[in-house]
Amino acid sequence: MGWIVTAFKVFIRVDPVLAAFFLFIFDLPRDFLSFFAVAIERFLHRYWRRPPAEAGSYAIVIPAHNGGGGLLATIKGLRTQTIAPQQIIVVSDGSTDETAAIITHAREQGLIDIAIINDRRMGVAASCNKALLFVTADCVLFLDADAELESDACGYLLAALRSEKDGAVSGNIAIRNAKASLWTAIQQIEYMIAIDFGRSFLDKFNAIACCSGAMTMFRTSALRAIGGFDAGSGQDLEVTLRLRRAGYRARFASRAWCYTDGPETFLKLVRQRLRWDRDAIRIHVFQHKQFRRSSEQESLGNTIQRYDFINFTFIPTILFPLFPISLITLPAGAMVDFLLGGYLILVGMTFLNLAVVFSAHRRSLSPYLLLLLPIFPLYQGTIMKAVRLWAYISETVWHASRNDGFVPARIRSILYRD
């Protein structure tokens, strides 16, 4: 710990104001407080509750565009749930691979209840809305085609939708291929921080902005009441914000685990994040106008949710380019001390953060992840922040998300014609 104190002294002595700016930009205040709070809560409730045996009925909907081989494993895995689904509906959305044949076969085998085959690709949102027409259960879980659930996941999700006001609940996500590359391993840490701990903390304040598209259960009546999903990419964020504005709560069930594959190469990871961040700024800022109150009677949860995005995502990102510029104001020769001291502080704080996260994380973790500690601040604070900044600029200036292949070109031409 001595080296952290020494580095901190060097760091503060050079320029205290710039040091505070540095810490703010690199997300430390937000993470540090929330992780401790969640960890303490978990230690106090260390004897886990089992999901209730009876918690209402639910349907599962899997929209798949070229879902391929992983789809059948996902479907078969659903049969192991401790609380069985009332319906399993699978949609092949204009697939050109064997997806349609797989789900037709699964229907004949009785593995699924309804097979919907769209000859022409409609997009995820419309496919989910089409499936919603056939749902007869109280709740409906939307699942990615490659998602693998733990056997008690649906029980925990159902248990979280206790009240009529609970509109949606997302589950915890782990990277299945965490050992595949450096980038998937680092995403595993990122998911632990942002999803397992970040959403657990926000759940206490009813301030969750996005229920992941990979695994979210909705109260069927709530989803129907708001008109289902909207066209365009980032429909998981958009539908969660719309549910919240309609007065429903978005919940998080940390014990409901889902495994999914992360991008294995840096290029694929950057592409994924560019897409997510472009959708985030388009939906938060331009579509839902998150900089102002949604209504005169805005709930505290909605206010916290808005300021969480503004203070801890948006502002640090747009201030990011000011950081290298402000380094010029430092006294000659102090820049190296400041950057070195600052980075050591970041590594030290990340160590403390991850120590809390690792100790209170409920799944076994590979010690290999600890080796990533020295580069994690660089990844999270610099590389991903630069990616996010570029996503914000490209979306604001060029509306880059309009070219996103996630939505069929035919639909985009209707959505974005001026």
Partner: protein, 188 residues
């Protein structure tokens, strides 16, 4: 006519083969099998083909009743819930601008004139709407399904069988081969 001719079978019932050849001659040189053809005659014809005395080509590939083997089957669509036949297909429309998918028309009438979600008029924004398949609604229990339960009703024995029990049968058209004609001319 693409035809199949078999190789000689090791054990052959000659009287059965003659019976098959006679049936072809009696039918004017070409015998078309149907669901009324006795199984023994089908077997005789098959043996004649195997022996090389006859040729055959596929004339029909039909679903047959699992009870009486008749091919005169009618498709019956039923509600999977209450088994009622009172079900109606309704065409779905997809509004590309808001991703809404809704029941737009039944077989004889338009159900809505506007998108139920964003209230955009179908006529005014017709280019934004596209067909999105069908749903089947039961008028008895109001259940909505992506596809009805399909069964087959036999016109001969009146039995109704689920689709999973109904299998296909191949029917052939037979005629004498050169060897068969030779055999008949030789009086053997």
């Amino acid at each position: 006519m693409s035809s199949e001719s078999g190789v000689a079978a090791p054990s052959v019932n000659l009287s059965a083969i003659i019976e098959g050849l006679k049936a072809i001659v009696d039918a004017g040189g070409e015998f078309t099998e149907d669901d009324g053809t006795p199984p023994t005659l089908t077997e005789s014809l098959s043996q004649a083909v195997q022996r090389g005395f006859a040729e055959r080509c596929l004339s029909a590939n039909l679903f047959v009743c699992p009870r009486c083997a008749a091919s005169d089957l009618r498709v019956v669509e039923r509600c999977s819930g209450c088994r009622s036949i009172d079900i109606e297909a309704e065409a779905l429309l997809h509004h590309c601008a808001c991703a809404e998918v809704f029941r737009a028309r039944s077989i004889d009438r338009l159900l809505v004139k506007r998108c139920p979600k964003c209230h955009c008029a179908l006529e005014e924004c017709s280019t934004e709407f596209e067909d999105a398949g069908f749903v089947y609604r039961c008028n008895e229990c109001n259940r909505t399904e992506a596809e009805p339960a399909v069964s087959f009703s036999c016109a001969r024995c009146r039995d109704e069988s689920p689709g999973s029990l109904v299998s296909k049968r191949r029917f052939y058209r037979y005629r004498l081969s050169a060897a068969g004609k030779e055999q008949l001319h030789a009086g053997r």
